[in-house]
């Protein structure tokens, strides 16, 4: 069994590299498809053909885009992320602190959202059709139906403007004590928990309910197992594959999808960085961000696949 997992992991590592290259090319072509290049966009309204040509030469953007991209790819292979077109700073320096911020926010959110969502999903499945189940469903869908920017803005209005309990902006550079962390992260984490939990809750519930109607669980029921025991011992292990996949999909959102939270709480993370990079057609920066998102996503789903195989004896 361990051998199987090891070979799968090795296999996945190789394929992940290929996927990264594919994504990298796809992002490159997508970027070149967009009208405008860094020079025209930096000059903006004042871009005249001569000015653009001059700036392009000065920024060494005259080489064909594909050559510049391959050059960047070679650099990446040697661990060099390249230099941003927009402000001539090393990409690593631009990303550094912001990537750490993104990871912090993602980790705190995951630590709260995953246990919460799994508990709600499993208990809802346990008492399927009950008032509790219906309430969980309505609340979950009701909350996920509210656009993220509305949740975030409402939170700021209530907790920062009217009650004045929390700061409206999340200045990470002013965090020194545990109390500060609580204050700074409370609203971003709350908003994101609302956003990512729904998928986990709903999918967990659905997967467990489906497993409950399989013959061997019905068999266990006939043997007189209690409901919680039935769910936790028999149904849950068999539903684990879809559940971990739902968790992986939800958590991957926390890397690149938190643009609204970053904007409203002025939290410097890499989602905003990516949006900026696209806006200025800053290829090295776009690519590096895309690689980070892709790598994060691949890591999450590979873990999910491994867990799924481990959980199903027939797949081992």
């Amino acid at each position: 069994m361990n051998k199987r997992i090891l070979s799968l992991a090795a296999n996945r590592l190789a394929i992940a590299l290929i996927t990264l290259v594919i994504v990298s090319f796809a992002v490159f072509f997508a970027t070149t498809l967009l009208p405008g290049d860094t020079a025209t966009i930096l000059l903006g309204q004042s871009a005249t053909p001569e000015a653009v040509a001059g700036l392009r030469t000065a920024m060494h953007l005259d080489d064909p885009a594909i050559l510049r991209f391959l050059h960047w790819l070679m650099g990446l292979a040697q661990g060099d992320l390249g230099t941003s077109y927009a402000n001539n700073m090393p990409v690593a320096a631009l990303i550094g602190g912001r990537f750490v911020n993104t990871l912090k926010l993602a980790a705190i959110t995951a630590a709260i959202a995953v246990p919460l969502a799994l508990t709600l999903g499993i208990t809802a499945a346990m008492w399927r059709g009950s008032v509790y189940d219906r309430a969980v469903t309505i609340l979950t869908i009701g909350i996920i139906s509210v656009p993220e920017f509305m949740i975030a803005t409402s939170a700021v209005l209530i907790f920062a403007v009217y009650l004045k309990w929390l700061p409206a902006l999340s200045f990470t550079n002013e965090v020194s004590t545990f109390y500060d962390i609580l204050r700074v992260y409370a609203m971003p984490v709350l908003t994101l928990t609302f956003v990512v939990s729904a998928q986990m809750i709903r999918m967990t519930r659905a997967a467990v309910v489906e497993t409950l109607s399989t013959p061997y669980v019905e068999m266990a029921l006939l043997k007189g197992a209690s409901r919680p025991r039935l769910v936790l011992r028999h149904a849950l292990p068999n539903a684990l594959g879809p559940i971990v996949n739902a968790v992986a999909l939800s958590l991957s959102y926390l890397l690149g999808g938190v643009i609204i939270v970053e904007t409203i709480f002025n939290y410097p993370g890499i989602a905003k960085l990516m949006v900026d990079a696209v806006a200025t057609r800053d290829l090295p920066l776009i690519q590096t961000c895309a690689m980070i998102f892709c790598l994060g996503y691949l890591t999450l789903i590979t873990l999910a696949d491994i867990l799924a195989i481990l959980s199903n004896p027939r797949l081992r």
């Binding site: 700021v156 409206a168 002025n266 410097p268 806006a279 800053d282």
Partner: protein, 535 residues
């Protein structure tokens, strides 16, 4: 009227209800209100609280935190490249200009002691003595020449390369005197040098992220797209700055910016959405400051292609634009009705005799009929990139629908808008920032060879008058020429300028010293060195 800034208060409802009871329909009512200017005067309520505190003596100390509305990884401390208001604010804090324009639009000397010329072609700039850069070096003529000359180098990527191109040669007469020779006479040079892009940097600078200038604050932190912090320059050559430190960043979400101010996280929130003004009603401790500096969003109809080639269509569109309604509903009163030419009432040369065209759908319909465009689908390109353009487009669309004109409003991404649609689409919206002189505005936008000739307006007569006015040092003659040129643009060009937009900044009332400026909001972006905290 109280001194609260507001666009409409519930107390006006009673009057309206009375009118309804007398049988006025909602539409009649709107017409009535707009005609009588009630909504406008409500919108124009006194914005004076910021200036009332000017008499007080500035106090020293405090850490100033302020938020603009836009920032990205392309943020720069290179004044030549500055493009967002965030860049202007930071450059104003770290650098100085040779000249500066005050709140009344009058040009004063800043780093220059004097700027003089006999023929408007060769100019002598004398620098103030005893001005030092943040690294301790003295300001010299070489720094000035370096700062101005680099705009001519294409590799700089200067935003004002076109304007700088008229500066033909520079000569350091002595350590503090520079001689600038222009290609042709231009009486406006001292005013042109007050543009933010012409700030003075140190000779030989290559890495601008250090922000070494002569300005009121020394750069402590600069993270593009995140924030900047400046500390008080203790050897600043002017009085001030009053605050100990100045932190600046951008909150692009309109509501979030207002909320951050209301919750006390920041002291100044730039460019408030007009619809947020009600948030400040009945809340003490905040001050609003309004500036109408000549920024405008305009509808451009290219005269050289498509529907714009039909003269009656262009004229009809000018009558189809309900300017009062745009100011009242789209801008919530925070704007001034425009008359299809780029010179706002804030400008000395504004032609007040040129009245805006009245909203007249019948006349428009007659003209459209003549042009034979009724029943055809006419695409109009709008985008969030041009402030309020989508709202304006929808209003013109609705007015058109009433008389059978089918406008197909297409909202396109702000990403790449200036590159793809502006100047290119047959009918599209543009957004023009204020420029210090008429000459610059007209030569950028309306002369036959103008780089941004938005409607492809070509008039040899206009070109001749432009040159004549530029070289003249006779103010009365210039005024007369400029007045006539404004009429020509309004009647002949395809650029419809329905309104000049106002900018409102909100601050905590503890922050004093903020004044309106003709150069734009946030005191012409230079508020940081002028404000102080009143404890």
């Amino acid at each position: 009227m109280s001194d609260k800034i507001t666009n409409w208060t519930r107390s006006d409802d009673a009057m309206v209800e009375g009118a309804i009871r007398r049988g006025a329909s909602r539409r009649d009512l709107m017409k009535m209100l707009l005609a009588s200017g009630v909504a406008l005067s409500a919108g124009g309520a006194v914005f004076g609280r910021a200036t009332s505190a000017l008499a007080a003596t500035p106090k020293s100390g405090g850490a100033l935190k302020a938020a603009g509305w836009s920032s990205s990884t392309a943020d720069t401390l290179d004044p030549a490249k500055a493009s967002l208001s965030t860049d202007y604010v930071r450059c104003c804090a770290f650098y100085n200009r040779l000249t500066i324009i005050d709140k009344d639009g009058v040009t004063h000397m800043e780093l220059a002691e004097s700027i003089e010329s006999k023929d408007a072609q060769t100019w002598t700039v004398k620098l103030k003595t005893g001005v030092t850069f943040h690294d301790g070096k003295d300001l010299t003529a070489d720094d000035v020449i370096f700062s101005l000359q680099r705009h001519l180098d294409k590799a700089t990527g200067s935003k004002v390369a076109k304007i700088a191109a008229q500066m033909q040669s520079f000569k350091a007469v002595d350590k503090t005197t520079v001689e600038i020779t222009l290609v042709a006479p231009n009486a406006d040079l001292p005013t042109i040098l007050a543009m933010h892009h012409f700030m003075i940097v140190q000779n030989g600078t290559t890495d601008f992220s250090k922000g070494i200038g002569t300005g009121a604050f020394k750069r402590e932190v600069f993270e593009p797209g995140v924030r900047s912090v400046g500390l008080r320059n203790t050897s600043y050559f002017k009085d001030g700055p009053h605050v100990d430190s100045f932190e600046y960043f951008a909150i692009s979400d309109d509501n979030a910016r207002v909320n951050a101010l209301l919750s006390g996280d920041i002291h100044l929130a730039a460019t408030i959405n007009p619809r947020s003004l009600r948030m400040f009603e009945g809340v003490d401790g905040f001050t609003l400051s309004k500036t109408t500096s000549g920024n405008y969003t305009n509808l451009n109809i290219r005269l050289d292609q498509g529907f714009g080639a039909k003269k009656e269509f262009v004229e009809g569109m000018k009558y189809l634009v309900n300017r009062e309604q745009i100011v009242a509903s789209a801008l919530r009163g925070l704007g001034v009705v425009g008359n299809d030419q780029p010179i706002s009432p804030a400008n000395f040369f504004h032609n007040a005799d040129l009245k805006p065209k009245a909203f007249d759908p019948d006349k428009a319909k007659f003209l459209f009929d003549k042009a034979g465009v009724l029943g055809e689908t006419i695409p109009v390109i709008a985008s969030e990139a041009a402030n309020a353009s989508v709202d304006m487009a929808m209003m013109i669309q609705a007015a058109g629908a009433e008389i059978g004109l089918k406008l197909d409003v297409q909202r396109v991404p702000s990403d790449g808008y200036w590159d793809n649609y502006w100047l290119k689409a047959p009918i599209h919206f543009g957004n023009i920032n204020p420029r210090p002189t008429l000459d610059i505005l007209f030569s950028l936008l309306y002369s036959s060879d103008a780089p941004w000739n938005e409607s492809q307006y070509k008039s040899p007569k206009f070109d001749k008058m432009l040159l004549e006015a530029r070289a003249s040092l006779d103010q009365d003659k210039r005024r007369q020429l400029y007045a006539e040129m404004q009429v020509m643009v309004a009647d002949e060009a395809g650029t419809i300028i329905p309104a000049y937009l106002s900018n409102v900044d909100a601050t905590t009332s503890k922050l004093k010293g903020l004044e309106p400026s003709p150069l734009g909001g946030q005191m012409g972006y230079a508020f940081a060195e002028n404000v102080w905290f009143d404890a």
